[in-house]
């Protein structure tokens, strides 16, 4: 609650949050109440924007605006789910390594560093290539389990500085175990930090999905912003000047990411007062 109160002091955070929620709930509400089928072909190839179809049609003659709204929903879904997974794995590994120290820290830290230098998108490609069918959830999971390392690294650093604090020592003297201490004495003190990390993970998850889709490894049987871009490229939308097929999804990806990064900047300013001046 206190966290929320502090956050609401930051204009940047509020703006970012509002934009993000607007896009999220806008797409959720629209896709729930609307009877449109985004895959329905309602026109010909690359029809320019008109009154009936505000953003024209794509290479399959589908309504771009409706695709965009559905794509937004799937992109945000993948971002949120992969963000949750990555933050969870990263926090678990980071707190364990940072709190336990010694051998376990050495091992976990080596693994983390290893996955920090091996590009995660390489692993993403190698995993996705072998999947015959890629559901949204599966894709989000793969993205989540390849993007935790930097969270683990950051959380580890925070944990090892927190664990020397007085209240942690008190808990130790009281005979509390590792899980209890991490949950009660360490995590609450870096909640704001973890939330910031989570927001960044969501943004990077959305970008990863788009990147994979561009490589032709996007989710099967679903529309996503990345897939729209990928189709536009494959079917020569750029060369034929059908801007409505690629500018809207490109901008939407940028706006979603921007809203998340803006939120993050706002939080950074509130939580790290040094940056304020």
């Amino acid at each position: 609650m206190k966290l929320l109160k502090t956050l609401l002091k930051s204009k940047k955070f509020i703006i970012g949050l509002c934009v993000f929620l607007l896009l999220l709930f806008g797409s959720l509400i629209f896709t729930t109440i609307s009877s449109h089928d985004p895959a329905e072909m309602i026109g010909f190839l690359y029809e320019p924007p008109s009154k009936e179809h505000l953003l024209g049609t794509d290479n399959f003659g589908r309504d771009v605006l409706i695709e965009l709204i559905y794509g937004m929903k799937t992109s945000i879904y993948v971002g949120l789910l992969s963000g949750i997974i990555a933050t969870f794995i990263g926090t678990t590994i980071g707190t364990t390594a940072g709190y336990l120290g010694k051998t376990i820290d050495n091992i976990l830290n080596s693994i983390t560093n290893l996955f920090l230098v091996i590009p995660s998108f390489v692993i993403l490609i190698l995993l996705s290539v072998s999947l015959r069918s890629r559901s949204l959830t599966l894709l989000a999971m793969i993205i989540g389990i390849t993007s935790w390392p930097w969270t683990a690294r950051a959380v580890r650093a925070q944990t090892s500085s927190l664990k020397t604090r007085e209240h942690v020592n008190m808990a130790k003297l009281n005979g509390e175990g590792y899980v209890e201490i991490v949950l009660k004495e360490i995590l609450p003190y870096m909640l704001s930090y973890i939330f910031m990390v989570f927001v960044l993970q969501v943004a990077s998850g959305i970008l990863s999905e788009a990147g994979l889709s561009m490589l032709g490894l996007g989710p099967s049987n679903t529309i996503s912003l990345g897939k729209m871009l990928s189709w536009a490229l494959l079917y020569e939308a750029v060369r034929t000047g059908a801007w409505w097929a690629f500018i809207p999804p490109a901008l939407t990806i940028a706006i979603i990411t921007f809203s998340l990064l803006y939120m993050n900047t706002g939080m950074d300013e509130v939580f790290n007062p040094r940056l304020r001046s």
Partner: protein, 335 residues
């Protein structure tokens, strides 16, 4: 210097280990989910109308040729041996072209595009970020949101928009490829000018995003450093702004070097996708072709080359970092 050598050998050992693990992952991950690449290949050929008898023979010969009839560890050892002989196998889609041949033609394009874009972008971004932190006020408040917005646009989205603006609408740059179709790559003036024309647009789209991202990081680091105790103490002893700025710049720069190492993978990934947008004849475009045609040897070769390049770049960054930051050398010694 002795210390530094020790630091370097430590790093080198670590990178060699990482490389082996990367090779292992590269081999193992595609086999993680069962499925036989050869059947996909054969199915593709079946589309060409070959009889089932011929297909069967083809299937068996491929299985043998790729060694898929042997247990996985034998396959792995063979794979590692081949990798160390620089043999990445034979492409499915361009059979019987060697993957080496394809990638060795593609690699120079990728390096020529990415290395300068990332390096120059990194330098300019850091200078701008430091300037924003130092000047504050109007410059900063105009610069920061702009940098943040550019940074939120993924490479490939900016690439598509630039391609449309300058390649299609304004028609000042070619809309794709590394050079004009009618030319044959050579070191002639005509070819180089032509290649440069094709180069500029992808280069700018990469460098812009790099500048944005780096500037944000550097700005934050510099603001942090400007508020540290040592800056205050130096001011209290009457040290000039100029010298203090130099302290701050150097110290803010150091995390930016490690930052570059960490984000290099992501940057290279984004840049590879940018190649697809411009159909640039680099690794990214070939990787894309490989994925579309389920050409496993090509995909695996591509990912391995990328991993190796990123590891090598990281190692180079570590070498530089060890020279500029005295702390890291010490810290490494103690470990």
């Amino acid at each position: 210097m002795n210390r530094y050598l020790k630091y370097l050998t430590g790093k080198l050992k670590w990178y060699i280990l990482t490389f082996f693990i990367a090779v292992f992952l590269n081999f193992f991950l595609p086999r993680f989910i069962p499925g036989n690449p050869v059947s996909a290949l054969v199915a593709q050929m079946a589309g060409g109308g070959a009889s089932s008898d011929v297909l069967d023979k083809l299937y068996n010969s491929y299985i043998q040729e790729f060694g898929l009839d042997k247990p996985w560890y034998t396959q792995f050892i063979n794979y590692v041996l081949k990798v160390f002989h620089g043999d990445l196998g034979i492409s499915f889609s361009l059979y019987p072209t060697k993957v080496n041949t394809i990638l060795s033609h593609a690699l120079p394009w990728t390096i020529a595009l990415q290395a300068p874009a990332i390096l120059i972008g990194w330098i300019i971004g850091n200078l701008l970020g430091a300037l924003a932190a130092y000047k504050k006020g109007k410059f900063d408040s105009a610069f920061f949101p702009l940098a943040l917005f550019i940074n939120s646009i993924p490479y490939y989205c900016l690439a598509i928009i630039l391609l449309y603006l300058f390649g299609v609408l304004l028609d000042v740059f070619p809309i794709g490829g590394g050079y004009s179709m009618q030319l044959i790559p050579s070191f002639s003036i005509t070819f180089l000018i032509d290649a440069l024309k094709h180069y500029l647009l992808p280069f700018f789209s990469l460098i812009l995003v790099t500048i944005g991202g780096q500037a944000i990081g550097m700005r934050e680091m510099s603001i942090y450093e400007l508020n540290t105790d040592y800056v205050r103490y130096a001011k209290l002893l009457g040290i000039s702004e100029k010298k203090i700025t130099r302290y701050v710049f150097k110290n803010a720069m150091l995390p930016q070097i490690t930052g570059l190492a960490i984000s290099l993978g992501t940057m290279v990934g984004g840049a590879l996708i940018t190649e697809i947008v411009f159909s640039y004849p680099g690794i990214g475009t070939w990787l894309f072709n490989g994925i579309r045609q389920q050409d496993y040897p090509l995909i695996q070769g591509g990912t391995l080359v990328i991993t190796m390049a990123v590891l090598l770049a990281n190692f180079l960054i570590d070498i530089v970092y060890g020279i500029v930051d005295p702390r890291i050398r010490m810290a490494q010694m103690e470990e």
